[in-house]
Amino acid sequence: MTPLLQVKNIRKFYGARIGCKDVTFDLYPGEVMGIVGESGSGKSTLLNSLAGHLAPDCGEVIFDTRADGPVDTVTMSEPERRMLSRTDWAFVHQHARDGLRMSVSAGGNIGERLMAVGGRHYGSIRERAADWLARVEISENRIDDRPSAFSGGMQQRLQIARNLVTGPRLVFMDEPTGGLDVSVQARLLDLLRGLVREMGLSAIIVTHDLAVVRLLADRLMVMKDGCVLETGLTDQVLDDPQHGYTQLLVSSVLHV
Protein backbone atom coordinates (compact mmCIF):
# COMPACT_ATOMS: atom_id res chain seq x y z
CA MET A 1 0.00 0.00 0.00
CA THR A 2 1.22 3.52 -0.83
CA PRO A 3 1.52 5.73 2.24
CA LEU A 4 -0.89 8.66 2.20
CA LEU A 5 1.90 10.86 3.49
CA GLN A 6 5.65 10.32 3.42
CA VAL A 7 7.62 12.70 5.60
CA LYS A 8 11.32 12.69 4.81
CA ASN A 9 14.02 14.48 6.78
CA ILE A 10 12.01 17.55 7.63
CA ARG A 11 14.11 20.23 9.22
CA LYS A 12 13.17 23.72 10.30
CA PHE A 13 15.37 26.19 12.12
CA TYR A 14 14.57 29.70 13.27
CA GLY A 15 17.94 31.27 12.66
CA ALA A 16 20.33 29.30 14.86
CA ARG A 17 17.51 28.00 17.02
CA ILE A 18 16.20 24.54 16.27
CA GLY A 19 12.52 24.11 15.42
CA CYS A 20 12.58 20.47 14.46
CA LYS A 21 15.09 18.33 12.68
CA ASP A 22 15.43 15.15 10.66
CA VAL A 23 11.85 14.01 11.10
CA THR A 24 10.93 11.05 8.96
CA PHE A 25 7.80 8.89 9.02
CA ASP A 26 5.08 7.41 6.84
CA LEU A 27 1.36 7.74 7.45
CA TYR A 28 -0.94 5.17 5.88
CA PRO A 29 -4.57 5.72 4.86
CA GLY A 30 -6.88 5.57 7.86
CA GLU A 31 -4.04 5.91 10.31
CA VAL A 32 -3.85 8.46 13.12
CA MET A 33 -0.42 9.61 14.23
CA GLY A 34 -0.05 11.37 17.57
CA ILE A 35 2.87 13.68 18.21
CA VAL A 36 3.48 14.42 21.87
CA GLY A 37 5.94 16.60 23.67
CA GLU A 38 6.14 19.56 25.96
CA SER A 39 5.85 23.09 24.67
CA GLY A 40 9.01 23.96 22.80
CA SER A 41 9.55 20.34 21.74
CA GLY A 42 9.09 21.27 18.09
CA LYS A 43 5.81 19.43 17.62
CA SER A 44 3.90 22.51 16.47
CA THR A 45 6.72 23.59 14.17
CA LEU A 46 6.68 20.13 12.67
CA LEU A 47 2.89 20.17 12.21
CA ASN A 48 2.97 23.59 10.55
CA SER A 49 5.82 22.51 8.30
CA LEU A 50 3.87 19.44 7.23
CA ALA A 51 0.67 21.41 6.63
CA GLY A 52 2.39 24.02 4.48
CA HIS A 53 2.00 26.88 6.96
CA LEU A 54 5.77 27.02 7.39
CA ALA A 55 8.37 26.37 4.72
CA PRO A 56 10.80 23.74 6.02
CA ASP A 57 14.51 24.35 5.45
CA CYS A 58 14.82 20.95 3.86
CA GLY A 59 12.98 17.69 3.53
CA GLU A 60 9.97 16.37 1.66
CA VAL A 61 6.29 16.02 2.52
CA ILE A 62 4.97 13.67 -0.13
CA PHE A 63 1.20 13.38 -0.34
CA ASP A 64 -0.58 10.75 -2.39
CA THR A 65 -2.82 13.09 -4.44
CA ARG A 66 -6.00 11.85 -6.06
CA ALA A 67 -5.03 13.11 -9.49
CA ASP A 68 -1.29 12.62 -9.77
CA GLY A 69 -0.31 10.15 -7.06
CA PRO A 70 2.57 10.98 -4.69
CA VAL A 71 3.69 14.63 -5.00
CA ASP A 72 6.07 16.62 -2.80
CA THR A 73 3.90 19.34 -1.30
CA VAL A 74 6.93 21.37 -0.19
CA THR A 75 7.96 22.05 -3.77
CA MET A 76 4.53 22.10 -5.42
CA SER A 77 3.25 25.52 -6.53
CA GLU A 78 1.48 27.68 -3.98
CA PRO A 79 -1.87 27.59 -5.81
CA GLU A 80 -1.73 23.78 -5.82
CA ARG A 81 -0.86 23.66 -2.14
CA ARG A 82 -3.63 26.09 -1.24
CA MET A 83 -6.09 24.07 -3.30
CA LEU A 84 -5.00 20.94 -1.48
CA SER A 85 -5.43 22.65 1.88
CA ARG A 86 -9.07 23.39 1.20
CA THR A 87 -9.99 20.10 -0.40
CA ASP A 88 -8.11 16.97 0.63
CA TRP A 89 -6.42 18.48 3.67
CA ALA A 90 -7.90 20.03 6.77
CA PHE A 91 -6.37 21.88 9.69
CA VAL A 92 -8.00 22.09 13.09
CA HIS A 93 -6.52 24.88 15.20
CA GLN A 94 -6.26 24.80 18.97
CA HIS A 95 -8.17 28.06 19.21
CA ALA A 96 -11.39 27.77 17.27
CA ARG A 97 -11.33 31.46 16.47
CA ASP A 98 -8.15 30.92 14.45
CA GLY A 99 -9.97 28.42 12.29
CA LEU A 100 -13.40 30.03 12.08
CA ARG A 101 -14.72 33.22 10.59
CA MET A 102 -16.23 34.77 13.67
CA SER A 103 -18.33 37.30 11.73
CA VAL A 104 -19.93 34.63 9.54
CA SER A 105 -22.81 32.36 10.56
CA ALA A 106 -22.26 28.71 11.42
CA GLY A 107 -23.81 27.71 8.09
CA GLY A 108 -21.58 30.13 6.20
CA ASN A 109 -18.52 28.82 8.02
CA ILE A 110 -19.30 25.26 7.00
CA GLY A 111 -20.33 26.26 3.49
CA GLU A 112 -17.17 28.22 2.74
CA ARG A 113 -15.10 25.26 1.60
CA LEU A 114 -17.97 24.06 -0.59
CA MET A 115 -18.22 27.47 -2.22
CA ALA A 116 -14.44 27.66 -2.54
CA VAL A 117 -14.49 24.60 -4.76
CA GLY A 118 -17.34 25.91 -6.88
CA GLY A 119 -20.55 25.16 -4.94
CA ARG A 120 -23.13 27.54 -6.39
CA HIS A 121 -26.45 26.12 -5.23
CA TYR A 122 -27.57 27.84 -2.04
CA GLY A 123 -30.09 25.16 -1.12
CA SER A 124 -27.67 22.27 -1.32
CA ILE A 125 -24.88 24.17 0.46
CA ARG A 126 -27.31 24.89 3.28
CA GLU A 127 -28.47 21.31 3.38
CA ARG A 128 -24.93 20.02 3.76
CA ALA A 129 -24.19 22.64 6.40
CA ALA A 130 -27.23 21.49 8.39
CA ASP A 131 -26.18 17.88 7.98
CA TRP A 132 -22.70 18.66 9.28
CA LEU A 133 -24.03 20.61 12.23
CA ALA A 134 -25.98 17.51 13.19
CA ARG A 135 -22.91 15.33 12.78
CA VAL A 136 -20.98 17.48 15.24
CA GLU A 137 -23.97 17.54 17.59
CA ILE A 138 -24.97 21.16 17.12
CA SER A 139 -28.68 21.82 16.80
CA GLU A 140 -29.72 22.72 13.28
CA ASN A 141 -31.57 25.78 14.52
CA ARG A 142 -28.20 27.36 15.35
CA ILE A 143 -27.28 27.38 11.65
CA ASP A 144 -27.68 31.15 11.30
CA ASP A 145 -25.98 32.05 14.59
CA ARG A 146 -22.46 33.36 14.64
CA PRO A 147 -19.75 31.33 16.39
CA SER A 148 -19.32 34.14 18.91
CA ALA A 149 -22.65 33.03 20.39
CA PHE A 150 -21.33 29.47 20.85
CA SER A 151 -19.56 27.90 23.82
CA GLY A 152 -15.90 26.93 23.45
CA GLY A 153 -16.77 23.29 22.88
CA MET A 154 -19.36 24.14 20.23
CA GLN A 155 -16.92 26.45 18.47
CA GLN A 156 -14.41 23.64 18.30
CA ARG A 157 -17.03 21.23 16.93
CA LEU A 158 -18.03 23.84 14.37
CA GLN A 159 -14.41 24.22 13.33
CA ILE A 160 -14.26 20.47 12.82
CA ALA A 161 -17.44 20.48 10.71
CA ARG A 162 -16.11 23.36 8.61
CA ASN A 163 -12.98 21.34 7.94
CA LEU A 164 -14.53 17.99 7.23
CA VAL A 165 -17.35 19.10 4.93
CA THR A 166 -15.27 18.58 1.78
CA GLY A 167 -14.37 15.04 2.82
CA PRO A 168 -10.63 15.60 3.29
CA ARG A 169 -8.35 12.58 3.50
CA LEU A 170 -5.80 14.08 5.86
CA VAL A 171 -6.51 16.19 8.92
CA PHE A 172 -3.87 18.11 10.85
CA MET A 173 -4.88 18.87 14.42
CA ASP A 174 -3.03 21.20 16.76
CA GLU A 175 -4.05 20.56 20.38
CA PRO A 176 -7.70 20.12 19.37
CA THR A 177 -8.88 19.80 22.97
CA GLY A 178 -6.54 22.40 24.46
CA GLY A 179 -8.14 25.07 26.57
CA LEU A 180 -11.44 23.20 26.97
CA ASP A 181 -12.96 21.96 30.23
CA VAL A 182 -12.32 18.31 30.97
CA SER A 183 -15.94 17.23 30.46
CA VAL A 184 -16.06 19.17 27.18
CA GLN A 185 -12.80 17.55 26.12
CA ALA A 186 -14.20 14.09 26.65
CA ARG A 187 -17.21 14.76 24.46
CA LEU A 188 -15.03 16.27 21.74
CA LEU A 189 -12.66 13.30 21.82
CA ASP A 190 -15.57 10.92 21.51
CA LEU A 191 -16.88 12.85 18.56
CA LEU A 192 -13.48 12.96 16.88
CA ARG A 193 -12.97 9.25 17.37
CA GLY A 194 -16.36 8.57 15.81
CA LEU A 195 -15.66 10.79 12.79
CA VAL A 196 -12.18 9.40 12.24
CA ARG A 197 -13.54 5.83 12.17
CA GLU A 198 -16.65 6.59 10.19
CA MET A 199 -14.84 8.59 7.51
CA GLY A 200 -11.66 6.51 7.53
CA LEU A 201 -9.71 9.71 8.10
CA SER A 202 -5.98 9.90 8.37
CA ALA A 203 -4.82 12.42 10.92
CA ILE A 204 -1.77 13.90 12.54
CA ILE A 205 -2.55 15.15 16.02
CA VAL A 206 -0.18 17.29 18.02
CA THR A 207 -0.86 17.42 21.73
CA HIS A 208 0.76 17.52 25.13
CA ASP A 209 -2.17 15.52 26.51
CA LEU A 210 -1.48 11.80 26.55
CA ALA A 211 -5.17 11.04 27.13
CA VAL A 212 -5.88 12.46 23.67
CA VAL A 213 -3.41 10.20 21.92
CA ARG A 214 -4.40 7.22 24.02
CA LEU A 215 -7.91 7.57 22.67
CA LEU A 216 -7.26 8.69 19.09
CA ALA A 217 -3.81 7.74 17.88
CA ASP A 218 -2.75 4.41 16.39
CA ARG A 219 0.88 5.41 16.50
CA LEU A 220 2.84 7.80 18.63
CA MET A 221 5.87 9.97 18.16
CA VAL A 222 7.59 11.55 21.17
CA MET A 223 9.49 14.77 20.56
CA LYS A 224 11.91 16.77 22.62
CA ASP A 225 14.13 19.71 21.62
CA GLY A 226 13.12 19.38 17.99
CA CYS A 227 14.05 15.71 17.70
CA VAL A 228 12.02 12.52 17.63
CA LEU A 229 13.00 10.41 20.64
CA GLU A 230 10.73 7.45 20.23
CA THR A 231 8.05 6.15 17.87
CA GLY A 232 5.79 3.13 18.03
CA LEU A 233 2.28 1.87 18.49
CA THR A 234 0.50 4.11 20.97
CA ASP A 235 -0.17 1.45 23.59
CA GLN A 236 3.37 0.16 23.36
CA VAL A 237 4.93 3.56 23.83
CA LEU A 238 2.63 4.54 26.66
CA ASP A 239 2.69 1.21 28.50
CA ASP A 240 6.31 0.34 27.92
CA PRO A 241 8.26 3.52 27.17
CA GLN A 242 11.84 2.86 26.14
CA HIS A 243 13.36 6.27 26.31
CA GLY A 244 14.03 7.87 29.66
CA TYR A 245 12.26 11.07 28.69
CA THR A 246 9.16 9.18 27.57
CA GLN A 247 9.13 7.34 30.88
CA LEU A 248 9.14 10.71 32.66
CA LEU A 249 6.40 12.03 30.41
CA VAL A 250 4.20 9.02 30.97
CA SER A 251 4.74 8.87 34.71
CA SER A 252 4.10 12.57 35.22
CA VAL A 253 0.79 12.19 33.46
CA LEU A 254 -0.07 9.23 35.62
CA HIS A 255 0.43 11.40 38.66
CA VAL A 256 -1.78 14.24 37.41
Partner: protein, 285 residues
Amino acid sequence: MSDYNFAYLDEQTKRMIRRAILKGLAVPGYQVPFASREMPMPYGWGTGGVQVSAATLTPDDTLKVIDQGADDTTNAVSIRKFFEKTAGIATTERTARASVIQTRHRIPEAELTEDQILVYQVPIPEPLRFLEPRETETRKMHALEEYGLMHVKLYEDISQHGAIATAYAYPVKVEGRYVMDPSPIPKFDNPKMEMAAIQLFGAGREQRIYALPPYTQVVSLDFEDHPFEASKADHPCDLCGAEDSYLDEVILDDAGGRMFVCSDTDYCRSRREAGHSGRLGGEAA
Protein backbone atom coordinates in the same frame (compact mmCIF):
# COMPACT_ATOMS: atom_id res chain seq x y z
CA MET B 1 -6.53 79.44 -14.66
CA SER B 2 -2.88 80.29 -15.22
CA ASP B 3 -2.30 79.73 -11.49
CA TYR B 4 -2.66 75.99 -12.03
CA ASN B 5 -1.17 73.35 -14.21
CA PHE B 6 -3.89 72.02 -16.54
CA ALA B 7 -6.39 70.11 -14.37
CA TYR B 8 -4.45 70.94 -11.19
CA LEU B 9 -2.04 67.96 -11.15
CA ASP B 10 1.48 68.35 -12.48
CA GLU B 11 2.41 66.49 -15.66
CA GLN B 12 4.59 63.99 -13.83
CA THR B 13 1.72 62.94 -11.60
CA LYS B 14 -0.72 62.70 -14.50
CA ARG B 15 1.72 60.48 -16.38
CA MET B 16 1.96 58.21 -13.33
CA ILE B 17 -1.82 58.01 -13.10
CA ARG B 18 -2.16 57.37 -16.84
CA ARG B 19 0.25 54.47 -16.56
CA ALA B 20 -1.93 53.02 -13.80
CA ILE B 21 -5.02 53.53 -15.97
CA LEU B 22 -3.41 51.81 -18.96
CA LYS B 23 -2.35 48.91 -16.79
CA GLY B 24 -5.89 48.72 -15.42
CA LEU B 25 -7.29 48.62 -18.96
CA ALA B 26 -4.82 45.91 -19.91
CA VAL B 27 -5.87 43.75 -16.95
CA PRO B 28 -9.61 44.44 -16.59
CA GLY B 29 -10.84 44.42 -13.00
CA TYR B 30 -7.36 44.25 -11.47
CA GLN B 31 -6.69 46.87 -8.79
CA VAL B 32 -3.58 48.83 -9.74
CA PRO B 33 -1.83 50.66 -6.88
CA PHE B 34 -1.01 54.30 -7.52
CA ALA B 35 0.49 57.12 -5.48
CA SER B 36 -2.61 59.12 -4.65
CA ARG B 37 -2.01 62.87 -4.26
CA GLU B 38 -3.50 65.30 -1.82
CA MET B 39 -6.32 67.12 -3.52
CA PRO B 40 -7.87 70.35 -2.33
CA MET B 41 -10.98 68.53 -1.11
CA PRO B 42 -11.73 65.90 1.53
CA TYR B 43 -11.30 62.20 0.71
CA GLY B 44 -15.01 61.46 0.96
CA TRP B 45 -15.49 63.81 -1.95
CA GLY B 46 -14.07 61.50 -4.53
CA THR B 47 -10.41 62.44 -4.74
CA GLY B 48 -9.69 59.16 -6.54
CA GLY B 49 -12.21 59.95 -9.26
CA VAL B 50 -10.95 63.52 -9.48
CA GLN B 51 -7.35 62.38 -10.00
CA VAL B 52 -8.41 59.91 -12.69
CA SER B 53 -10.47 62.62 -14.41
CA ALA B 54 -7.55 65.07 -14.15
CA ALA B 55 -5.24 62.57 -15.84
CA THR B 56 -7.87 61.77 -18.49
CA LEU B 57 -9.14 65.23 -19.48
CA THR B 58 -7.80 67.12 -22.46
CA PRO B 59 -8.56 70.78 -23.28
CA ASP B 60 -11.13 69.65 -25.89
CA ASP B 61 -13.13 67.53 -23.47
CA THR B 62 -16.57 68.28 -22.13
CA LEU B 63 -17.10 67.14 -18.55
CA LYS B 64 -20.26 66.07 -16.78
CA VAL B 65 -20.27 65.31 -13.06
CA ILE B 66 -23.06 63.45 -11.30
CA ASP B 67 -23.66 62.44 -7.73
CA GLN B 68 -26.43 59.87 -7.15
CA GLY B 69 -27.51 60.64 -10.72
CA ALA B 70 -27.90 64.37 -10.14
CA ASP B 71 -25.79 67.19 -11.59
CA ASP B 72 -26.80 69.72 -8.98
CA THR B 73 -25.66 68.25 -5.63
CA THR B 74 -22.95 70.07 -3.70
CA ASN B 75 -20.42 67.36 -4.45
CA ALA B 76 -21.11 67.33 -8.20
CA VAL B 77 -21.17 71.12 -8.45
CA SER B 78 -17.90 71.57 -6.59
CA ILE B 79 -16.05 68.97 -8.69
CA ARG B 80 -17.42 70.53 -11.89
CA LYS B 81 -16.32 73.99 -10.71
CA PHE B 82 -12.94 72.60 -9.74
CA PHE B 83 -12.28 71.47 -13.31
CA GLU B 84 -13.81 74.58 -14.87
CA LYS B 85 -11.34 76.59 -12.84
CA THR B 86 -8.23 74.40 -13.06
CA ALA B 87 -8.64 73.08 -16.62
CA GLY B 88 -10.83 75.70 -18.24
CA ILE B 89 -12.79 72.96 -19.96
CA ALA B 90 -16.41 72.98 -21.05
CA THR B 91 -18.93 71.30 -18.78
CA THR B 92 -22.41 70.02 -19.42
CA GLU B 93 -25.33 68.35 -17.71
CA ARG B 94 -26.27 66.49 -20.90
CA THR B 95 -25.06 62.92 -20.85
CA ALA B 96 -24.92 62.72 -24.64
CA ARG B 97 -22.75 65.84 -24.93
CA ALA B 98 -20.15 64.83 -22.36
CA SER B 99 -16.90 63.15 -23.38
CA VAL B 100 -15.88 62.46 -19.77
CA ILE B 101 -18.43 61.75 -17.04
CA GLN B 102 -17.35 61.55 -13.43
CA THR B 103 -19.88 59.77 -11.26
CA ARG B 104 -20.62 58.75 -7.73
CA HIS B 105 -23.20 56.00 -7.13
CA ARG B 106 -24.86 55.81 -10.59
CA ILE B 107 -24.43 54.95 -14.24
CA PRO B 108 -26.40 57.30 -16.51
CA GLU B 109 -29.56 55.83 -18.00
CA ALA B 110 -28.71 56.93 -21.55
CA GLU B 111 -26.55 54.39 -23.31
CA LEU B 112 -22.94 55.57 -23.42
CA THR B 113 -20.89 55.47 -26.61
CA GLU B 114 -17.35 54.58 -27.66
CA ASP B 115 -16.47 58.28 -27.55
CA GLN B 116 -17.12 58.55 -23.85
CA ILE B 117 -15.25 57.77 -20.64
CA LEU B 118 -17.05 57.10 -17.37
CA VAL B 119 -15.00 57.79 -14.22
CA TYR B 120 -16.23 56.34 -10.93
CA GLN B 121 -15.45 57.62 -7.47
CA VAL B 122 -14.68 54.58 -5.34
CA PRO B 123 -14.63 54.53 -1.53
CA ILE B 124 -13.53 50.90 -0.94
CA PRO B 125 -12.07 49.11 -3.98
CA GLU B 126 -11.52 45.71 -2.34
CA PRO B 127 -14.62 43.50 -2.62
CA LEU B 128 -13.13 40.90 -0.27
CA ARG B 129 -12.33 43.43 2.45
CA PHE B 130 -15.32 42.94 4.72
CA LEU B 131 -14.62 39.23 5.16
CA GLU B 132 -10.85 39.24 4.93
CA PRO B 133 -9.26 42.40 6.36
CA ARG B 134 -5.66 41.33 5.65
CA GLU B 135 -4.50 42.93 2.42
CA THR B 136 -1.68 40.39 1.92
CA GLU B 137 -4.34 37.70 1.95
CA THR B 138 -6.84 39.46 -0.36
CA ARG B 139 -4.08 40.09 -2.89
CA LYS B 140 -3.24 36.42 -2.83
CA MET B 141 -6.89 35.50 -3.23
CA HIS B 142 -7.12 37.68 -6.35
CA ALA B 143 -3.86 36.31 -7.70
CA LEU B 144 -5.02 32.71 -7.24
CA GLU B 145 -8.69 33.34 -8.13
CA GLU B 146 -9.81 32.16 -4.71
CA TYR B 147 -13.20 33.80 -4.66
CA GLY B 148 -15.23 31.43 -2.51
CA LEU B 149 -15.51 34.16 0.12
CA MET B 150 -17.61 36.35 -2.17
CA HIS B 151 -20.24 33.66 -2.22
CA VAL B 152 -20.01 33.33 1.56
CA LYS B 153 -21.11 36.97 1.69
CA LEU B 154 -24.03 36.26 -0.63
CA TYR B 155 -24.86 33.10 1.35
CA GLU B 156 -25.01 35.19 4.53
CA ASP B 157 -27.33 37.62 2.78
CA ILE B 158 -29.77 34.92 1.78
CA SER B 159 -29.66 33.16 5.14
CA GLN B 160 -30.46 36.41 6.94
CA HIS B 161 -32.87 38.04 4.54
CA GLY B 162 -34.25 35.22 2.42
CA ALA B 163 -32.77 36.80 -0.69
CA ILE B 164 -29.56 38.50 -1.74
CA ALA B 165 -30.07 41.79 0.05
CA THR B 166 -26.93 43.45 -1.27
CA ALA B 167 -28.41 46.37 -3.19
CA TYR B 168 -25.31 48.50 -3.79
CA ALA B 169 -21.70 47.69 -4.64
CA TYR B 170 -22.91 44.30 -5.83
CA PRO B 171 -19.80 42.25 -6.70
CA VAL B 172 -19.07 41.29 -10.29
CA LYS B 173 -16.66 39.01 -12.08
CA VAL B 174 -14.80 40.60 -14.98
CA GLU B 175 -13.99 38.58 -18.10
CA GLY B 176 -14.24 35.41 -16.03
CA ARG B 177 -11.18 36.45 -14.03
CA TYR B 178 -11.11 39.24 -11.43
CA VAL B 179 -13.86 39.84 -8.92
CA MET B 180 -14.47 43.59 -8.74
CA ASP B 181 -16.38 46.06 -6.62
CA PRO B 182 -18.38 48.24 -9.01
CA SER B 183 -18.42 51.07 -6.39
CA PRO B 184 -21.69 51.78 -4.58
CA ILE B 185 -23.88 51.92 -7.67
CA PRO B 186 -27.29 50.23 -7.27
CA LYS B 187 -27.28 46.68 -8.56
CA PHE B 188 -29.85 47.90 -11.09
CA ASP B 189 -26.88 49.47 -12.88
CA ASN B 190 -24.74 46.33 -12.96
CA PRO B 191 -25.91 45.04 -16.36
CA LYS B 192 -25.07 48.42 -17.90
CA MET B 193 -21.40 47.86 -17.15
CA GLU B 194 -21.08 45.86 -20.34
CA MET B 195 -20.94 49.06 -22.36
CA ALA B 196 -19.25 50.82 -25.28
CA ALA B 197 -17.57 53.48 -23.17
CA ILE B 198 -14.34 53.10 -21.20
CA GLN B 199 -14.93 52.80 -17.46
CA LEU B 200 -12.27 53.95 -14.99
CA PHE B 201 -12.44 53.56 -11.21
CA GLY B 202 -10.43 55.71 -8.81
CA ALA B 203 -10.07 55.19 -5.06
CA GLY B 204 -8.12 58.07 -3.52
CA ARG B 205 -7.74 57.13 0.11
CA GLU B 206 -7.10 53.48 -0.82
CA GLN B 207 -4.76 54.42 -3.69
CA ARG B 208 -6.17 52.04 -6.27
CA ILE B 209 -7.22 52.42 -9.90
CA TYR B 210 -9.04 49.78 -11.92
CA ALA B 211 -10.73 49.77 -15.28
CA LEU B 212 -13.03 48.14 -17.80
CA PRO B 213 -12.27 48.48 -21.51
CA PRO B 214 -15.28 48.81 -23.86
CA TYR B 215 -17.49 45.73 -24.22
CA THR B 216 -15.87 43.87 -21.33
CA GLN B 217 -17.83 40.94 -19.93
CA VAL B 218 -19.12 41.82 -16.46
CA VAL B 219 -21.12 39.17 -14.62
CA SER B 220 -22.88 39.75 -11.30
CA LEU B 221 -22.20 36.94 -8.83
CA ASP B 222 -25.14 34.81 -7.70
CA PHE B 223 -26.39 31.32 -6.88
CA GLU B 224 -28.12 28.94 -9.28
CA ASP B 225 -31.20 28.96 -7.07
CA HIS B 226 -30.95 32.68 -6.25
CA PRO B 227 -30.10 34.33 -9.56
CA PHE B 228 -29.01 37.97 -9.80
CA GLU B 229 -31.81 40.47 -10.35
CA ALA B 230 -31.28 44.07 -11.42
CA SER B 231 -34.12 45.31 -9.28
CA LYS B 232 -35.61 48.76 -8.90
CA ALA B 233 -38.75 50.25 -7.38
CA ASP B 234 -41.70 48.72 -9.22
CA HIS B 235 -43.04 52.04 -10.42
CA PRO B 236 -42.87 54.42 -13.34
CA CYS B 237 -41.27 57.85 -12.81
CA ASP B 238 -43.91 60.25 -11.52
CA LEU B 239 -42.46 63.10 -13.55
CA CYS B 240 -41.52 61.63 -16.93
CA GLY B 241 -43.32 58.30 -16.87
CA ALA B 242 -40.16 56.29 -17.58
CA GLU B 243 -40.54 52.62 -16.67
CA ASP B 244 -36.93 51.66 -17.30
CA SER B 245 -35.03 54.06 -15.07
CA TYR B 246 -33.72 53.82 -11.53
CA LEU B 247 -35.95 55.75 -9.16
CA ASP B 248 -35.48 57.76 -6.00
CA GLU B 249 -38.32 57.89 -3.53
CA VAL B 250 -39.12 61.45 -2.51
CA ILE B 251 -41.25 62.22 0.56
CA LEU B 252 -43.65 65.01 -0.31
CA ASP B 253 -45.37 65.83 2.99
CA ASP B 254 -45.92 64.67 6.58
CA ALA B 255 -49.10 62.88 5.55
CA GLY B 256 -47.14 60.12 3.85
CA GLY B 257 -47.37 61.58 0.37
CA ARG B 258 -44.47 60.46 -1.79
CA MET B 259 -43.36 60.22 -5.34
CA PHE B 260 -40.88 58.26 -7.40
CA VAL B 261 -38.60 60.15 -9.71
CA CYS B 262 -35.69 59.23 -11.94
CA SER B 263 -32.44 59.48 -10.01
CA ASP B 264 -30.79 60.47 -13.32
CA THR B 265 -31.94 64.09 -13.50
CA ASP B 266 -30.70 64.64 -17.05
CA TYR B 267 -32.55 61.56 -18.30
CA CYS B 268 -35.78 62.71 -16.62
CA ARG B 269 -35.54 66.24 -17.97
CA SER B 270 -34.71 65.04 -21.48
CA ARG B 271 -37.76 62.81 -21.49
CA ARG B 272 -40.03 65.60 -20.28
CA GLU B 273 -38.57 67.95 -22.90
CA ALA B 274 -39.43 65.30 -25.47
CA GLY B 275 -43.04 65.40 -24.30
CA HIS B 276 -43.21 62.44 -21.91
CA SER B 277 -45.10 62.88 -18.69
CA GLY B 278 -45.77 60.90 -15.53
CA ARG B 279 -48.46 60.87 -12.84
CA LEU B 280 -47.35 64.21 -11.36
CA GLY B 281 -45.61 65.47 -14.49
CA GLY B 282 -47.79 68.53 -15.02
CA GLU B 283 -47.49 70.17 -11.65
CA ALA B 284 -44.23 69.05 -10.07
CA ALA B 285 -41.97 69.57 -13.05
